[in-house]
C-alpha cells in the first residue's frame, strides 16, 4: 500500500519536471516495455482492419465497385507507376502544391511580420485579414473559377489562399508572444533594429511560425484536392475523377492513399525542421 503510494507520488513528481533529465531517467526502465507494448497495440487495429478488408474483398462480400481489395490497389499502383502516368500526375500535383504554398507562405509571413512590428500596419491590415479569414476559403472556389477559369492559376491561387492565413496568424502571434524583457535586453546590449529582429524577434517567434507552417501544409493539401477534383486535366485529383467515369475504384482508392501519404510525408518534413531549428526548445527535439 505505502509502496504503491510512493510510486504514484514519484511518477507525479517526474511528470511535473519533464526537463529534468536526472530525475526522469530513473524510472524509465519499467516504462520502456509498457510504451513498446502500447505502440504495438496502436498498430494492431489498423492492421486487423486491413486484413479483414482484404478477406472480405477476396470472399466476394465486398463488391469491387464499392471497395477494391487492398492487394488490387497495390497492383494498380505498380501498373500505373510502370506506365509513368502516375509519376507524371504526382509531379504536377506536387508542383502546384509547392507553388501555391510558396506564394501563400511568403504573403502570410510578410504581412505577419509587418503587423507584428507596426501598430500602424496592425490597425490598417489586421481587421481586414481577420474578416477575410472568417470565410471558409474553399467556399471561394466558384468565384475563383469565374475569375481565373479552371487552369493552373486557379489551383495555385486556391492553395496560396489556404496557406496565407495560418502563416499570417501564427507569425503575428509568435511576434506578440515574445517576452518584452528580452527585447529590452537587446536594447541594453546595443542591438540595432535589424539585429533585434534577427537575434531576438524571429527566433522567438519561430516555434509559432513553424506551427503555422504545419497547419498550412494541411490546408494546402486540402485546397489542392478540391481544386484538382473540379476541372483538372492532370494531377492526382484528375486521375481520381477520370477513374470515377469508369468506376475504377482501385484507382480512386490509390489516389486517396497517395494524398494521405504525401500529407504524412510533408508533416514529417515539417517536424524534422522543427527538431532542427528548435533544438533549444524543451518541447521539441532533446538536443543538448
Amino acid at each position: 500500500m505505502s509502496n504503491l503510494e510512493q510510486t504514484a507520488s514519484s511518477v507525479a513528481f517526474d511528470a511535473a519536471q519533464p526537463s529534468d533529465n536526472a530525475v526522469s531517467r530513473a524510472p524509465k526502465v519499467p516504462f520502456e516495455i509498457g510504451r513498446r507494448g502500447l505502440l504495438l497495440l496502436s498498430w494492431l487495429a489498423p492492421v486487423v482492419l486491413l486484413i479483414v478488408w482484404e478477406l472480405l474483398a477476396q470472399a466476394g462480400w465486398l463488391s469491387p465497385q464499392v471497395l477494391p481489395a487492398p492487394s488490387k490497389v497495390l497492383r494498380t499502383a505498380f501498373k500505373l507507376a510502370a506506365s509513368g502516368s502516375l509519376l507524371n500526375d504526382l509531379g504536377i500535383s506536387l508542383l502546384r502544391a509547392i507553388g501555391g504554398f510558396t506564394i501563400g507562405a511568403s504573403i502570410g509571413f510578410a504581412l505577419g511580420i509587418l503587423v507584428g512590428f507596426s501598430r500602424i500596419a496592425e490597425a490598417a491590415i489586421d481587421r481586414s485579414v481577420q474578416m477575410i479569414r472568417a470565410i471558409p476559403f474553399l467556399s471561394l472556389l466558384p468565384l475563383v473559377i469565374v475569375w481565373l477559369g479552371v487552369g493552373e492559376a486557379e489551383k495555385i491561387f486556391l492553395v496560396a489562399l489556404g496557406v496565407t492565413f495560418p502563416i499570417y496568424i501564427n507569425t503575428t502571434l509568435g511576434i506578440r508572444q515574445i517576452d518584452p524583457k528580452l527585447i529590452e535586453l537587446g536594447r541594453v546590449q546595443g542591438l540595432g533594429t535589424l539585429d533585434l529582429i534577427r537575434r531576438i524577434v524571429l527566433p522567438g517567434a519561430l516555434p509559432s511560425i513553424l506551427t503555422g507552417v504545419r497547419y498550412a501544409l494541411a490546408t494546402a493539401w486540402l485546397a489542392l484536392v478540391v481544386a484538382e477534383t473540379i476541372g483538372a486535366q492532370s494531377g492526382i485529383g484528375f486521375l481520381a475523377m477520370d477513374a470515377r467515369e469508369f468506376l475504377r475504384t482501385d484507382v480512386i482508392v490509390l489516389t486517396i492513399v497517395i494524398y494521405a501519404l504525401i500529407g504524412v510525408a510533408a508533416d514529417a518534413i515539417a517536424r524534422t525542421f522543427e527538431r532542427r531549428l528548435l533544438a533549444w526548445h524543451p518541447n521539441y527535439g532533446g538536443a543538448r
Binding site: 526537463s19 524583457k181 528580452l182 529590452e184 535586453l185 537587446g186 536594447r187 541594453v188 546590449q189 546595443g190 542591438l191 539585429d195 537575434r199 531576438i200 527566433p203 522567438g204 519561430l206 528548435l278 533544438a279 533549444w280 526548445h281 524543451p282 543538448r288
Partner: protein, 239 residues
C-alpha cells in the same frame, strides 16, 4: 533622453554623473532632485525600501526609460544585469554572451568571458541546462564582455540561494577588480552591500538620503566569519 559624452580631460573621470534628476510616472513623482556621481572602479550599493525608486533610477541610468528633468552624463552605454538572467533560450551560451558585441574575434572574447565566470567548458551548451546561479554568471559575463565603464546591477543575486549568493559576491568582486567599471548595485541585502560596496547609499523620498563609506573593519570581520563557515574568498577583501 540626455546621455551626454563627458569630456575625458577631467583627472578622475567618473563613470556617471547624475544632476538634479527628476522622474515621475504621471502625477506620482518617484525621483526628485537626485544627484549622484560614481567614479570608474568604484563600487556603489543602493539600498532603500521597496518602491522607493531604485529600479526607476537604474533604468534611467541604463537609458531604458526617459527622464523628466535633470541630466545624466555617462561616457558610454552602461551594461546591465537584471534580477532575471534574460538569456536567449535559442542561443548557445557563447552566442548569448556575444550578443551585441562588435568585434572580429567575437567567439574568442565570449569564450574568455565565460571562462572568467567559470563556465569556459560550456560554450555550446543551452541556457536551459544551467542552474540559476550559472545562468546569472553568464548574464554577468555578457555584461562584462562589453568592457563597460558603468555596470548596473538590479538585485542580480536576489533569486539565488544564500551560498550561491556568497560565491557570486566573490566572483563579482574579482571581476570588478579586473575590469574596474563603476558599479551601481541595487540590493535589499544590507550584508551584501557591506560586503561588496565602497560606498552605500540609501534612497528615500526620491533622492539619496544617506551615504556611508564602508570601513574596512566590518568587511574584514565578515570575511573572517565566512571563512569560518567554509566559504573561502579567493581574493582577500581589501581594507
Amino acid at each position: 533622453m540626455t546621455l551626454h559624452v563627458a569630456p575625458s580631460s577631467t583627472a578622475a573621470s567618473p563613470a556617471v554623473v547624475v544632476t538634479h534628476l527628476y522622474r515621475a510616472y504621471g502625477s506620482r513623482v518617484v525621483i526628485e532632485n537626485l544627484n549622484l556621481r560614481i567614479e570608474r572602479g568604484e563600487f556603489v550599493a543602493l539600498l532603500g525600501e521597496s518602491g522607493c525608486g531604485k529600479t526607476t533610477l537604474l533604468r534611467a541610468l541604463a537609458g531604458l526609460d526617459p527622464i523628466d528633468g535633470g541630466r545624466i552624463a555617462a561616457p558610454r552605454r552602461p551594461a546591465v544585469v537584471f534580477q532575471e538572467h534574460r538569456l536567449l533560450p535559442w542561443d548557445t551560451l557563447w552566442r548569448n554572451v556575444a550578443l551585441g558585441l562588435q568585434a572580429a574575434d567575437v567567439r574568442e572574447r565570449a569564450a574568455a568571458a565565460l571562462a572568467e565566470v567559470g563556465l569556459g567548458d560550456r560554450l555550446d551548451d543551452w541556457p536551459r541546462n544551467l542552474s540559476g546561479g550559472q545562468a546569472q554568471r553568464v548574464a554577468l559575463a555578457r555584461a562584462l564582455v562589453q568592457e563597460p565603464e558603468l555596470l548596473l546591477l538590479d538585485e542580480p543575486f536576489a533569486a539565488l540561494d544564500a551560498l550561491t549568493r556568497i560565491r557570486m559576491h566573490h566572483l563579482v568582486r574579482e571581476l570588478v577588480a579586473t575590469h574596474r567599471p563603476g558599479v551601481l548595485l541595487v540590493t535589499h541585502d544590507v550584508d551584501e552591500a557591506i560586503a561588496l560596496a565602497d560606498r552605500i547609499l540609501v534612497m528615500r523620498d526620491g533622492r539619496i538620503a544617506f551615504e556611508h563609506r564602508t570601513s574596512g573593519a566590518r568587511s574584514i570581520a565578515r570575511a573572517e566569519l565566512l571563512a569560518e563557515l567554509g566559504v573561502v574568498a579567493s581574493h582577500p577583501i581589501p581594507a
